[in-house]
Symmetry: D3
Subunit: 127 residues, 6 copies
């Protein structure tokens, strides 16, 4: 019986965590940089997310914190706020994670992240 | 009976979370910018850390993630890696939090944070 | 007679400095993170803007410099370029502040800020 | 016979490197900050691009790497991905330059840059 | 009679603004990148600092704000906090400029800048 | 005959590119985060550096540009300026790469990188 490849493991995890939104990012890379999609699946979603010690909920708390702090990553925040909600972070916790960043990162990036969250929450209510 | 001021609440929380290292930062501000120390105690350690929804362990996970991502904050990482360990994050988890940042922030800032953690872990073993 | 709360002082200052644009940001937080709006009013517009030593014109010069340097804060720049003009910074000075940043921050972020300023100037001429 | 001014040299180089897209940025500055356009032509496109040691292809590789790493510079990336292609970098090389940044800058900024490249490539195919 | 070159104007301004500390930076470039020193003198201290609209005190307020916000620029902050004091900014104002950045940039970078200021203030008292 | 693992390929490449300095970083991770060392070898030095299209000289030009632009990465710059020189970039080119970043990133980060280069050049001359 064949062992799963890193890409296969990564794709399975991506679908469980990010859902269709994450898959769309990988698909959008097809025509321009398919290898980048493969590297993301292998490194991020197989090598890193398969590790233990932290569960996926904790990993997504870390990811959205990092994305808020980086700035200019609204598209990735959209995907990973959805991911956080998918793996069990509540909307109230997402907001609180962003508020916790205020003293360290300043309000402008916190506001940018909150307004992405606001849209994500609204979109999920509709569907 | 008097209600505690925000500074008093902040100082109590700072001592519980950051311990003496955090207190030293506030003390070091005395001669140059005492009001900044007061604002940090009030805003960060009273207004923000007193909020619910997330516990202090989760708040420190968020804080060290943010500091790693910002870069150039080695001194603050030193204080808050200690804080994270003080409120129940394990050394293994600190390392894993930093590894989780790799795909989003890149290895250079992860390495900088890991080497601060290495020194913090060593110092705590000695004492 | 009741003393004003920090939120009340903050809201008064926000309206004087940022005007309706700033109020809209706080209002937009209502449905998603009302506490964040409160923290911004209290910390930024009461605790910090109420301090002396620098006047509001100088504070807005600092704020738009910081926002330009951070990058990815076009929405906040929009609000605070308006704020700067509201408290007495001239359009010519706004442009000159951004040019002064060029040797330290590089042209890309200066250009991003200038093009926000261009829209703000045009919008204010219309109204 | 008159020696060319730095602005004239800069404008000639801008047109050769960035083409009409770069000229449009300078023109867009006319109504708001014409001096900034002049400083960019003089400093970037005369003083710096006129230097030897590296050719323009290498200089554009450096420029798009820097822009990707800064983040929040999608408009400038658009101009300079076009510039890179104009001076002999291939589409495949642009993608590979961005992939090389992944371990150092993280995937979010690499993805943002790749999606700008995707649009640039598509636009050039049409014309 | 000869007109001053841009380098000469830049050097004169550098000496008036940054004093010997700034000169040392240019000198330190001699053995490794003398052209970079020349470009800094010409572009920053001739082209930009010679412009009107803002005076040097305002320009240094902008510069130290930008350096604080960038992070990782402790050496440049040292030079420009001295420069700010040289052209008439008071120590109290330097501290207040940094405090004004807190809500926008977060406390870690403000603390880093304050501790550079603390050393600069102490060094100047000694001499 | 056994195929080389990704770690083995990564380690071979690391030694060819970064030399002993790079190996020391991986070794320093042993006691604190050995898995991070493994991920760097596998992802950076096997998956990414093994790719074609760009040669190692071009890849190191990109890497030191990215590190300069990130800021706060002096230790990594030290390793990768050495790496750049190891794979055929000249000292003059290193300086020119950094000068090319000036209009996009600003002088402070360029100066920080130049002074790391100055030390690297001096150290290599001694040995």
């Amino acid at each position: 019986m064949d062992k799963k490849t890193r890409v296969e493991i990564g794709l399975e995890n991506l679908l469980k965590i990010d859902g269709e939104d994450g898959k769309k990012v990988i698909d959008a890379l097809e025509g321009v940089a398919p290898d980048l999609g493969k590297l993301i699946l292998e490194f991020t979603f197989a090598d890193v997310y398969e590790r233990g010690v932290l569960d996926w909920k904790q990993r997504e708390i870390i990811t959205i914190t990092s994305l808020l702090t980086l700035g200019g990553t609204e598209k990735q925040l959209d995907v990973h706020i959805n991911a956080a909600l998918n793996v069990g972070v509540t909307e109230e916790e997402v907001v609180e994670i962003f508020i916790q960043c205020s003293p360290y990162v300043g309000f402008p990036r916190v506001l940018n992240a909150i307004f992405v969250a606001k849209e994500v929450f609204a979109t999920r209510k509709k569907s």
